[in-house]
Symmetry: C2
Subunit: 355 residues, 2 copies
């Protein structure tokens, strides 16, 4: 290992690389990490010197607040490589802003922009060999922050650790996705933390999703917890519905994540001349449209899968199969968006940022 | 260190003890831990050999599922020492059952009863010098489980770690507690995880509690997230209201924790001839009773504080001060319950269990 100082980041390089052991054509999402990670500790009110160092397990006290009271947030981003081997990010400012919005809701400190952005940029420069070219290839980026302060008193931690991990990813195909519309379980409360990318929101979904899996459904479409009549998210993604030729998605709220893929698709669809309506979408509308044959598509939208088409949904024990088509908004918008992300087409939106 | 095998628990003793450095008269709740902890790992579907070993930090992978998706649950219990130096637990079977109910809701494996109970008993035997005599003294017990499996895919972990920590505690006096009734924020959704002792539920409360603190209130009384008209919990405790001479508390639900102190107080109050009504309690009732002078007490109930009296509440920017009295249900029931827990009076309920 060699240690050097770069833009106030203390960099310790790994003695060897794992890259030659990785089969980049057969990657399981989120399972392989690059040689280095970025880390910055927050101790008694101050961010410490950020470091880039070899990816490795780290020590935590058994009473660390993250284990007991769940102060933990994250982001999901991707880096892409263009034909000239330049590395690009997609709307990183949006992830940075949302990360600190999540931090605020979870009573955690804001990460300074230079810590987040310089850390990410320097880490990506060091790991650029891990970013592969071509549509569908990317380097998934996982910034996260956890409470490291010790003691099992139920109040916010004094100390935190902010880290960035990198994981190479291929295009994400979930296979056929049938969904169950939630009639009892919920992912978010009014006045709760549904709009934050808080770790606990995800664990809360596992049990209801397991139950859906047992009934043959891959995901749950979450509804509002009060009436279960409004369609809000699909699994860990935002959700879009195409009825006739209009694309519908729910407005963001304190129950619904302000997805970056979601907002990009809304802009992109509008620019393609697709009529987009952002308003609460009712289960009753979806069922009525499915019955009369005007429901053409449902798809999830998120960083990992970009767009994940849904083949049918179940509600009150009735299964509604969607029409199969090659010419869908989902496939059209996914191609447009991934072409922008992968720098295969001009980015007229100014969404891509060079590392 | 010496290692031995005891009832299939592998015990490694610490070379030295910290006990002589601890000021047992001046303890901050949850900040000091005993010399040893209990640990049992769950790996690929099987619980491994449980161990008791010196309390120390442990290694986790940066991609450990607990950091990213919040699979983490806990319990709070206490051990007490009687005049004959025997160590006692209070309703440990209830904590064990609730722990596994929480595990189920968070898609985590059940901890076998012998792992939980033998582990706790053996750890307490080893640490019995840390249990101090006298009303108010106890050894706080923190069983918890975290997801240790690696990889940032959003599904349940394969691997988990179950641990028990011990922390000496004195009687817990919060000082004067004024509360703010939640009009916007919430701790639990219908169909959510409010009834589970899931780590994420606690972090979600920190921000609204911080806001209340800034306005001069120590805690928040949580209301239902749909209408904010029903009184549900106080901070991290269940909540009781005395109107005239009747004690009211909300029924447990998927939004409200099935508190062991709560259910013990309901039984104890009834046995003392106090009229107890378990039914939804409305904010409007509380305000009306405060205005007409029939609201005599509000108190929180939980393992850490046992009973925490509340001196007044604010709702819609109006502050209602409660009457001051020495002769309260809170002080009477707290004395009765702590006398049972500390073995200073006969336990006619069969709640106490010898270690």
């Amino acid at each position: 290992m060699s240690t050097s100082q770069n833009q106030q980041i203390q960099i310790t390089k790994a003695a060897t690389t794992k890259i030659n052991d990785v089969d980049f054509d057969n990657l399981t999402f989120g399972s392989v990490f690059t040689d280095h990670l970025f880390e910055c500790d927050y101790i008694n009110g101050e961010w410490q010197t950020p470091v880039i160092k070899p990816y490795a397990p780290f020590l935590l006290d058994p009473s660390a607040r993250v284990f007991h009271y769940g102060q933990a947030i994250f982001e999901g981003m991707k880096a892409y490589k263009d034909d000239a081997n330049a590395v690009w990010l997609f709307r990183p400012d949006e992830n940075f802003k949302r990360f600190n919005n999540s931090a605020s809701r979870m009573a955690m400190p804001s990460v300074p922009e230079n810590v987040f952005m310089n850390g990410l940029n320097e880490l990506l420069k060091l790991e650029e060999a891990w970013v592969k070219k071509g549509n569908g290839s990317s380097l998934y980026i996982r910034p996260f922050m956890i409470a490291t302060g010790t003691g099992v008193m139920a109040n916010p931690s004094d100390n935190y650790k902010f880290m960035i991990l990198l994981s190479p990813a291929k295009a994400y195909y979930a296979g056929e996705v049938k969904v169950l519309i939630a009639e009892h379980f919920s992912r978010a409360a009014n006045g709760g933390i549904g709009a934050a990318k808080a770790a606990g929101n995800y664990a809360a979904q596992f049990y209801p999703t397991n139950l859906a899996n047992k009934e043959g459904f891959q995901q749950v479409i979450w509804t509002d917890d009060t009436t279960h009549t409004k369609l809000e998210e699909a699994g860990t993604m935002n959700v879009f519905f195409r009825i006739k030729d209009t694309l519908f998605t729910a407005p963001t709220s304190e129950r619904i994540l302000d997805g970056i893929t979601r907002k990009s698709l809304i802009e992109l669809a509008a620019s393609e001349g697709i009529n987009v309506e952002v308003r609460p979408v009712l289960v009753a509308e979806l069922v009525a449209a499915a019955k009369e044959g005007t429901l053409k598509e449902i798809f999830g939208a998120g960083t990992a899968a970009v767009i994940s088409p849904i083949s049918g949904f179940s509600y009150q024990d009735v299964y509604y199969e969607l029409p199969k088509s090659e010419d869908t908004y989902a496939s059209h918008l996914k191609e447009k968006l991934t072409n922008i992300q992968n720098k295969l087409t001009e980015d007229t939106f100014g969404w891509t940022v060079k590392v």
